[in-house]
């Protein structure tokens, strides 16, 4: 099994989620993240002093899947999250030893 992790623009989450559902992905875990990269942050001003915010809000998605599905999931995310602008994010794929469903104790693909 694989774990696909994606860092995407927050406003792309809705589209990515619905496209993944269409592809047959029925579960995922999301969390807030802050990105640092080529995309530069912004500068806020407080009483005349500038305050550089170089961490940009991102959403992190984690999806556990069967080996065979990793590529297509990666593909769907990449396509739906892309706006063509710097800062669109990354997707990476990691090998998993096992996955368990807490409720039932099922292991492996059955647990996804």
């Amino acid at each position: 099994m694989k774990l696909v992790t994606a860092i995407i623009q927050p406003h792309r989450l809705d589209d990515v989620k619905s496209n993944l559902e269409l592809t047959g992905v029925h579960g995922m875990t999301a969390s807030e993240a802050k990105g640092f990269g080529r995309q530069k942050g912004h500068t806020e001003i407080y009483r005349g002093r500038e305050y550089a915010v170089d961490l940009v809000p991102k959403v992190r998605l984690e999806i556990v899947c069967d080996d065979a599905d990793a590529a297509i999931i990666t593909e769907v995310i990449t396509r739906s999250a892309s706006t063509g602008k710097i800062g669109d994010g990354k997707v990476w794929i990691m090998p998993l030893d096992d996955v368990v469903r807490v409720r039932t104790g099922e292991h492996g693909v059955a647990a996804i």
Binding site: K34, G41, E44, I45, Y46, Y51, A52, V53, D54, L55
Partner: protein
């Protein structure tokens, strides 16, 4: 021989000026309360936006306070409450430019309102300026809810200036300053229903339009302006696709609570005296407000299954709005009825924007326009002496509908002109990208909250 006339006079003047202090104390307080209503609106609205827009929402209200505080003493008060009348629409902006004749004392005594002589409803003229100022501030601030989360702050500041000058001040003049929508000789009401000149040359209209504390001047006026501006300025990016839930409901409640508090200045202050009438207005106001919140909550419970806090807050505001024109002429029983009706109707009315597809973002039309209309018209039925349910015949009702209509047309037309003019010149909207990123950053270069700075992730 003692000079009884003189005794009477001396004692009388001192005594009457005793009223001045009492009424003045209440009117100063009431003015302060009403001023607080604009921050209250700011939080009521601010809590309802998304977290990326609250600062801007607060700034639209703050901008109204800032600009109107400056233009009101310049020409605003003079245009609304001067002594000269131009075709029933406004008075001379230069008559009291910078309040020159009001802040000058004559033999150590400033003027009083209303009228020239001292009587138990008198209070200092300078205090009238500030009381009226606070009404102008909140009227324009209300509009901001309809165009939330998308407009340039600089355009808003100019809009505030123009709208108070060309819409609010004239409307106040028309209704309260002896203009077209008042009961004076040159008014619509006198034209239709007639009247006669009474003793000391005072005009007695047969039917007098009733707008106690600003159902027409403030709420219908701001409500229709809200509709017009949102239609011209257009929808927020994502309208109807995203639901845009309130980001901070405790702030919405804070706003509603402070509005309720401040509204006692608005309504009980509109008797212009710390007398029984003020208490009467306070009673109607709280009774209608409680009832309207119940009306809204019950409607919601039936329709959606829940009593929401946003509903309670909205119902409170709807009740306050609806009782505003009527607070001095409805009995407690009718006040409760009026509140229930207003609460239920406004609850249903906030859905209209989805049906008719205009982005009245925070429901200014559904609450202030509809609420103001409900109160203004129900006077025709409920008013103590002139309402139909009190054997008053239909005349009051007719005139109430009429002044509402004229106000809608006047405000609608002039607001359209102003909004269009700004649209075509400096423009209203920030870019769509800026809007998505957040109007707070776009307009003000700031973000509202930073709870994580200590975690190092704030920057």
């Amino acid at each position: 021989m003692i000079d009884s006339g003189h005794i009477l006079l001396a004692a009388d003047i001192t005594a009457q000026t005793g009223f001045l202090a009492g009424n003045g104390a209440w009117m100063l307080t009431a003015a302060s309360f009403v001023l607080l209503m604009t921050p209250a609106v700011a939080f009521f609205y601010g809590g309802m936006c998304r977290s990326k827009s609250i600062l801007n929402m607060l700034m639209l209200s703050a901008g109204a306070m800032i600009v109107v505080s400056v233009i009101w003493p310049l020409w605003g008060y003079s245009m609304a409450f001067g002594t000269e009348d131009y075709i029933g629409l406004f008075s001379d902006p230069f008559e009291n430019f910078l309040l020159n004749s009001i802040v000058e004392s004559h033999d150590g005594v400033f003027g009083v309102v209303p009228g020239a002589g001292l009587h138990p409803e008198s209070y200092a003229g300078t205090i009238d300026v500030v009381f009226q100022l606070t009404f102008a501030v909140i009227a324009v601030a209300l509009i901001s809810g309809a165009i939330a989360e998308r407009v340039k702050f600089s355009t808003w500041l100019i809009f505030v200036t123009l709208w108070v000058t060309f819409v609010y001040a004239p409307m106040a003049h028309m209704v309260w300053g002896g203009g077209l929508l008042s009961g004076e000789e040159n008014s619509v009401s006198s034209f239709i229903f007639g009247g006669n000149t009474g003793e000391r040359g005072k005009w007695n209209a047969n039917v007098i339009p009733h707008d106690f504390a600003g159902g027409t001047v403030v709420h219908i006026n701001a409500g229709i302006a809200a509709l017009v501006t949102t239609l011209i300025i257009g929808k927020r990016s994502g309208f109807k696709k995203e639901t845009m839930r309130p980001h901070n409901l405790p702030f919405v409640m804070l706003g509603a609570f402070l509005l309720w508090f401040g509204w006692f200045g608005f309504n009980a202050g509109s008797t212009f005296a710390a007398n029984d009438g003020a208490g009467y207005a306070w009673i109607s106001t709280s009774a209608a407000t409680g009832a309207a919140a119940l009306g809204w909550l019950i409607t919601e419970r039936i329709r959606d299954g829940k009593f929401t806090s946003l509903g309670a807050a909205s119902g409170i505001v709807a009740g306050l709005v609806a009782i505003t024109p009527a607070a001095d002429v409805v009995s407690p029983g009718f006040a409760i009825l009026l509140g229930l009706i207003a609460g239920a109707l406004c609850c249903l009315a906030v859905g209209l924007k989805l049906r008719f597809n205009y982005d009245d973002s925070l429901d200014v039309v559904g609450v202030h326009f509809v609420g103001g209309l409900v109160g203004t018209i129900l006077i025709g039925f409920f008013a103590t002496e002139t309402g139909m349910f009190n054997d008053g015949g239909p005349k009051q009702l007719i005139i109430q509908v009429l002044i509402a209509l004229i106000a809608i047309i006047y405000s609608g037309v002039i607001t359209t002109i102003i909004t269009f003019a700004l649209e075509k010149t400096i423009g209203w909207r920030v870019t769509e990208e800026e809007e998505i990123l957040g109007i707070d950053y776009a307009n003000h270069g700031e973000t509202a909250y930073d709870f994580v700075a200590s975690s190092g992730l704030g920057k």
